[in-house]
Amino acid sequence: MTGNLKNVNVIGAWLLGFLWLWPLLYAIWAAIHPIEYQVRFDIFAPLTLFNFKNAWAQAPFAQYMLNTLIYVTLTTSSQFVVCALAAFAFARFEFPLKNVLFGLVLIQLLIHPEVVLIENYKTIRFLGLMDTIPAISLPYIASAFGIFVLRQTFKTVPKALDDAALIDGANTLQILRHVYIPLSLPTFVAYGLVSISYHWNNYLWPLIVTNSDDSRVLNVGLAVFSMEEAGVEWATISAATLMVTAPLIIAFLIFQRQFIESFSTTGIK
């Protein structure tokens, strides 16, 4: 019985895996073969890089790539700073209304970013940041998820280490920098990976606050590119899609283990 069940599970997992992999496999097929093979399967079809060249020439992907890198780096590094400081305060200090404030942070976890889209848009306009990269980052920097996950990790650091560091002559920020952060490195890596993949894939908010190639990110650029004229071929779109997703896929393959651990362990302790 358990043996059979296990077989069903394994077969099911493979089927689902293949189902999810199928579009990617098709995209690779379409991207590396001439246009006439985009809906025809022939194992001996000639290989070509023409589609990549074509896509690269049709839209400023290099600019999009640079914008995305700036956006993702800016967001994730700002999140590290803001969340680490907030989490440290919640984990180790007593201050008035601490629990109320932490409750508000938790409530933020329940609110989908799209719900506050219009308010965020108004704020960005008020700040005069429309169509800039910081405008894409700003709403995500005080991440409730980041604060929560880091607070949970910081709470597992033994208090005696604070005492030892105080006696060694460390001030509060030095304790955070030399004791808490190094001891929480796996959480930072896991959270960073989640954050990077989320922001790399982020679409709606960047679409709304950007309207020029100077600030557009890859995902938005790709969508604009594939919508522009009805005449764009699947082969070109596939090549462009592969270019857009490649960095993330490579990063996933490298950090696979941390990535999966981050989803299975964060916040449970």
Partner: protein
Amino acid sequence: MSAISIKKLNKFYDSNHVIRDASIEIESNSFTVLVGPSGCGKSTILRMIAGLEEVDSGTISIDGNVVNSLHPKERGIAMVFQSYALYPHMTVFDNIGFGLRLEGQSKHEIEAGVSEAARILKIEDLLDRKPRQLSGGQRQRVAIGRAITRKPKVFLFDEPLSNLDAALRVQMRVELAKLHDQLTATMLYVTHDQTEAMTMADRIVVLDKGEVSQAGAPLELYNSPKNSFVASFIGSPTMNFLNARAVAVTKGSVTIKLLDDLELKIANGDTAVSVGDELTLGVRPENLSLVQTPKAHCTGKVSVVEQLGSQTFLYLETVDGPLILEADGSTKIKVGDLAPISFDVKRCHLFNKHHQKI
């Protein structure tokens, strides 16, 4: 001059008054042990000296300067924790050198400081390891090494040996005593283990419920305890206590009567005792002896025999109450025997109903 001077120290946790008017003087270069049962406030006092706990009232001075509001690093102290509190992500070298690094010392100075400490503690070959690769005894050495490099005026030890096994504890006790001689620094050591206190201290401070019960040299506390708490806390096995009543008081002695009408004349300098007072007789196991029946003060039935080799402890049931007696290692007495007992009346203690020695 005192290295540490504590005056009228008080500490509250919410409404719990955990340190009550404690005043303690600690001599320069002494090895002083703060001892007491768990919850007596000994660690709290240590943490207040270190600057890890706020002082509610009273003053703490180190080398003549009041340090109440100074940051721990400005107090000239170093501390060794019960849990060692080594930084798990740093090597032994970095653990020992962390304080120097924070002081902004050069790489060269840090290296010199760390190797000096490593040499004293014989841990030179462990410097590249992480704390998790060390045994308990090695971790403790690293923790002590971290304290040494700061060259403090005062070393504070918070039950540093209680996580070690018995054999290692005895060994570390000896090494700490040697270290004290080697460094000629003031050491203040907290423990609940009276054996550690007796063997290591120049001076012991006994704490009871947040108050200083008695302070003095180890043998002074052992031989002349001021009250029944100190009498029972210092010494192992513990002192025997029997209920008694004063039946005759003369200048220099009190005659007491125990439950079985046994009368003992105890030398006593104090005369604040009147006939009829309820008293407690305290006598240490080694001041009771097995004698020939005619000389015995009373007899007791042996319930347990503990043979330690050089001596034997007999647990006796008498009409006056249970007694522990230290006999010779070669005694042949068995469980169930009736043992004739004699009291060394010169070395008996009397306590009044307020537990104070009279």
